[in-house]
Amino acid sequence: MQWRDFQKRQRITQIGERFISYVEAGEGDPVVLIHGIPTWGFLWHETIDALKENFRVLVPDLIGFGFSDKRDNFDRSIAAQAEILDQWLETLDVPSAHIVGQDIGGGVALRLATLFPDRVASLCVMNTVCYDSWPIELMLQFGHPEMYRKASASTTMKLLKQALKMGFESSPEDEFLEGLLAPYSTEAGKLSLIRNAAALNTNLTTEITHLLPEIEVPTRIIWGENDKFQLVKYGERLAKDIPGAELVRIADARHFLMIDKPAEVNGALKAFLAEAEKAQLTANA
């Protein structure tokens, strides 16, 4: 799929002074797919197709990311993102949803599961930030305010594209990588991404570490084993800390596992969601 076609499918919700662009597809119990940095909802395009037959799939661009609000006057931390997603789901009249997150999207998902537990029917995190696994060096450097003045948007995108390639075991086409970075290819987009990087903060996962054992919803951790950005040891730790959580390792996959191994990842996710639905039915009965 071309990124512009994906963008054309996006809907919009205003949350106070902010706005969120999102894709909605399919019918059924709601599943929310949350992207990380430096991507946007487009990352999930194959997963949407895999899930939409059985679920109402909701894929937001986090604020400051993709084609959501990119102004320079709000907090983009995962704490703020979790709060605004909670309000966004309220606006969409979604009392609870299966929450799936990758990278910092996983951090947002963990905060939703620990601090907004009623909003989460089940939890699936993929190569997520957690504990003190982040920010990675590249993003720490990128988030420095002087980055704005150091290079033009086009130069920055070239560098980011090279760095992004390290997140794949496969070799995605340039067109796809450019699509992932397209929202950040202007000066305003570049600045927004710098602000997003500046908002990465270890404390926002360490402060919820003690709450992980309190997560009660079905939880699955899916990890591309060869990830250099978020090491699988953190997935192992999460699986021990969250009651009933199971770790699914995806071989020959890195940070962007849903692109490296779409069939395996989407298969594992579908299997988990089916189990979670079944558990929910049993609990309700």
């Binding site: 102004r71 033009s152 086009s154 305003a188």
Partner: protein, 299 residues
């Protein structure tokens, strides 16, 4: 077409230009720096001097009001031109359509301010004095309106070939030496800009459009005379600053030429989405400092 000064982009701005860019965003209440200022910034002594001279006016209710008047007049005048109906037969998507409208609001708000500012500066450089309204020094609250769309610009020479061709056509048709911020923002949605330009182009080339743009320019010149603080910048000042006075004046004249058609084009495109009554109102009405203080007191 005049020789092209080199634009100073926001991320490239340093020292005095950086200071002025910040003050422009805060005082004009806008989310980015328009082509006028980016171009004037190439005259690195002129821009700070001009801004420091004009800023007291920019902070007043009178300036906001006269810009509102230009906007209102532009909507009225554009109602007399053929409607563009750029949305006809096209589907741009929910989020994209919403964002296109917010982008149009941004320029519908800021362009009249730029025109009045340009008219005032040009008059001053040519030795004319504004009258001033000493009893109307009320200040507006500074700062970007919280819901104003980010001034996001695609590259002036985009990689996308059809978009680059479109920009060239716009530049040629409107005799622009650089593509304006407005079209670069609308270039975020190339299918929309393509559809819009296809409808705008014949209107822009008509004699009626030219006459309407002239009328709007005259309106701006008249209204600029009402600004409360007299400007002191003259050709002599430019020479003393070591600037090429002819080039500065020529550049400023060019902006006074291109802004009225731009304002009309934005109004015409806005009419596809909104009623004339809605468009005549400011999309981002400014609170005065007194009103703001009263709001804080009530809170």
């Amino acid at each position: 077409m005049i020789g092209k000064p080199k634009e100073v982009k926001e991320y490239e701005a340093e020292d005095e230009i950086q200071r002025v860019y910040h003050e422009i965003r805060q005082t004009l209440r806008v989310t980015g720096i328009n082509l006028n200022f980016r171009t004037w910034a190439d005259f690195d002594k002129f821009l700070p001097a001009m801004w420091d001279d004009f800023r007291p006016n920019a902070e007043t209710r009178v300036f906001e009001n006269v810009a509102d008047e230009v906007r209102r007049r532009a909507v009225q005048l554009s109602g007399e031109l053929p409607r563009t109906n750029a949305l006809e037969g096209s589907e741009f998507g929910e989020s994209r359509s919403w964002q296109i409208q917010r982008a149009l609001d941004l320029y519908h708000y800021v362009n009249p301010k730029l025109l009045v500012l340009t008219s005032a500066v040009l008059a001053s450089l040519k030795g004319e004095q504004n009258e001033g309204e000493s009893d109307a020094m009320e200040r507006i609250k500074k700062g970007e309106p919280p819901t104003m769309y980010a001034m996001e610009l695609v590259d002036e020479k985009p990689k996308d070939k059809p978009l680059r061709k479109l920009f060239n056509d716009i530049k040629k048709t409107l005799s622009l030496s650089s593509i304006n911020s407005d079209y670069r923002t609308l270039g975020l949605w190339p299918d929309y800009l393509q559809a819009a330009w296809q409808k705008l182009k014949p209107v822009c080339k008509s004699a009626a459009f030219e006459n309407t743009a002239d009328a709007l320019r005259e309106e701006s010149r008249t209204l600029a005379h009402r600004l409360p603080y007299r400007l002191s910048l003259t050709r002599t000042t430019l020479v003393e600053l070591g600037e090429d006075a002819d080039k500065v004046i020529e550049t400023t004249e060019k902006f006074e030429q291109i802004l009225p058609p731009l304002i009309l084009n934005i109004a015409l495109l806005q009419l596809d989405w909104k009623s004339p009554e809605d468009l005549e109102k400011s999309p981002f009405p400014a609170a005065t400092m007194k009103e703001k203080e009263a709001q804080y007191a009530m809170a």
